[in-house]
């Protein structure tokens, strides 16, 4: 009952927000070209869908998203494990990390274009950099936090080599911490997708820039909502995966 009334209040809040948003441009209080009313979105969405533009843009962006995520998370995982496991490696890289870490992913755009051109690879590179740092630090911390006692169990039962300890103890024990990092990266990577495409790599971001230069703000809105929807989808799927992987926890 309590849950139900909460849902009702949340829904009412959203409806009120949309109503206000609809009303302001309609009443002439705001310029419809600057703030398109939400009622224009469904028609704009259908137009984009019918012309095939929507699907192409979304598929392009998804391919950048997934590839960038995989590359960034993979590199972050490998180097995070190495740095969490081996002190000398961590020490050797400590200042490099300190130097590179504060540079925002977007600051790499000039180099991305010089190295890869205005091509998908450039967008993937920008996305991967943001993801890399999040997953790197999450993994490093999780690996370092693995209970020494459990590593001793592995040694007591004959797993003496570093690879054996990694597979049998370190990775499973660090999984919860790594998953938290990957989930944060999932959201971060969407931001990077738009930013990376705005400079011209085909995808949702590029389509938004085109639409905005034609003052088709309702189309910009279509893609903003598309991204919100896709993010929700990915996050929900990831949480389901996370719950399944971590079903051993109390």
């Amino acid at each position: 009952m309590k849950n139900l009334s909460r849902t009702a209040v949340s829904a009412a809040g959203l409806i009120a927000f949309l109503a206000l948003w609809e009303a302001l441009p309609r009443l002439g209080l705001l310029n419809t070209a600057l703030v398109p009313p939400p009622s224009e979105v469904p028609a704009a969405f259908l137009r984009e869908l019918r012309s095939g533009t929507w699907l192409t843009a979304v598929l392009n962006s998804l391919s950048h998203y997934v590839t960038g995520l995989a590359v960034g998370a993979g590199a972050g995982l490998i180097l995070g494990v190495a740095s969490g496991l081996f002190r000398p490696f961590e020490t050797a890289t400590a200042w490099i990390v300190r130097l590179l870490r504060p540079i925002p992913g977007l600051a790499w755009v000039p180099f991305a274009i010089i190295w890869f051109g205005v091509e998908p690879a450039a967008a993937i590179f920008i996305i991967a950099i943001g993801v890399f740092w999040i997953v790197f630090f999450a993994t490093q911390g999780a690996v370092r936090g693995v209970d020494r006692d459990l590593i001793e169990v592995a040694e007591a039962f004959g797993f003496r080599s570093a690879p054996a300890r990694l597979v049998k103890i370190v990775l499973p024990a660090a999984t919860p911490g790594i998953m938290v990092g990957v989930r944060t990266a999932l959201g971060q990577a969407w931001m990077a997708v738009v930013a990376a495409e705005i400079f011209g790599v085909p995808g949702v971001g590029q389509r938004m820039m085109q639409a905005s230069s034609l003052l088709s703000t309702e189309i910009v809105l279509v893609y903003m909502l598309t991204m919100a929807g896709l993010y929700g989808l990915f996050d929900t799927a990831f949480v389901a995966l996370q719950n399944w992987l971590l079903r051993w926890r109390a």
Partner: protein, 251 residues
Amino acid sequence: MAGVIDIRALGLAYERDGQTTQVLSGLDLTIERGEFLAIVGESGVGKSTLLRVLIGLAEPSAGTFRIDAEPGKRAPVALVFQDARLLPWRRVIDNVTFGLEWSGVPRLERRRRAKAMLDLVGLGDLGHRWPHQLSGGQRQRVALARALAVEPEVLLMDEPFAALDSFTREGLQDELLRIRERTGRTILFVTHDIDEAVYLADRVIVLAGRPAGIAAELRVELPQPRRRRDPGLADTARQLRTELSQRSAEL
């Protein structure tokens, strides 16, 4: 006279904050095949360190030890920790197979053996559970099954029941005696509880002093199964305490 474990002039030290503390020195000890030997001593006396040396988690600072194991067949020793230390991401049955995974035992055979060990410790139905779904006593049974599964020459137990409530503890003590009867395993059991040692073991050794040595040694002549209320047990325990206090006064 070679036992299954022969310890000669063994010294143990640990380092903390750059300072070396000698905990045990000149320990001579032979453990006979099939024997249940209990080692008693207050905390910090080096009992646990001794087990850690025997299983290869620590190095002795002096002396030697030899474990007589059939080459290639059995694991020489397996350890039951005080806190069960199950791997929380593995189901109970997969915790029991853990020690078999490096030895090239095929998967099905590992499962079969693990199931048999779970039956032996009375948890045959709980193989699919996660460790967090078990009670403290059940967790310790799983830890026991995990150690037994590798069929060690000597089962090392490091205060395995110390963290349990007294009902559970007594139940597990009897369970251990029953399992020993069934399997004939040699057991080296460390505890700080003289009564527990006397109830369980064929022979009790008391470690005391700084650095520690054998302060008292006693064979418990009463046959198994023993009754907890047996006056003979109380006598033996009293005898050990007297000897211990005399030796402590001398040291």
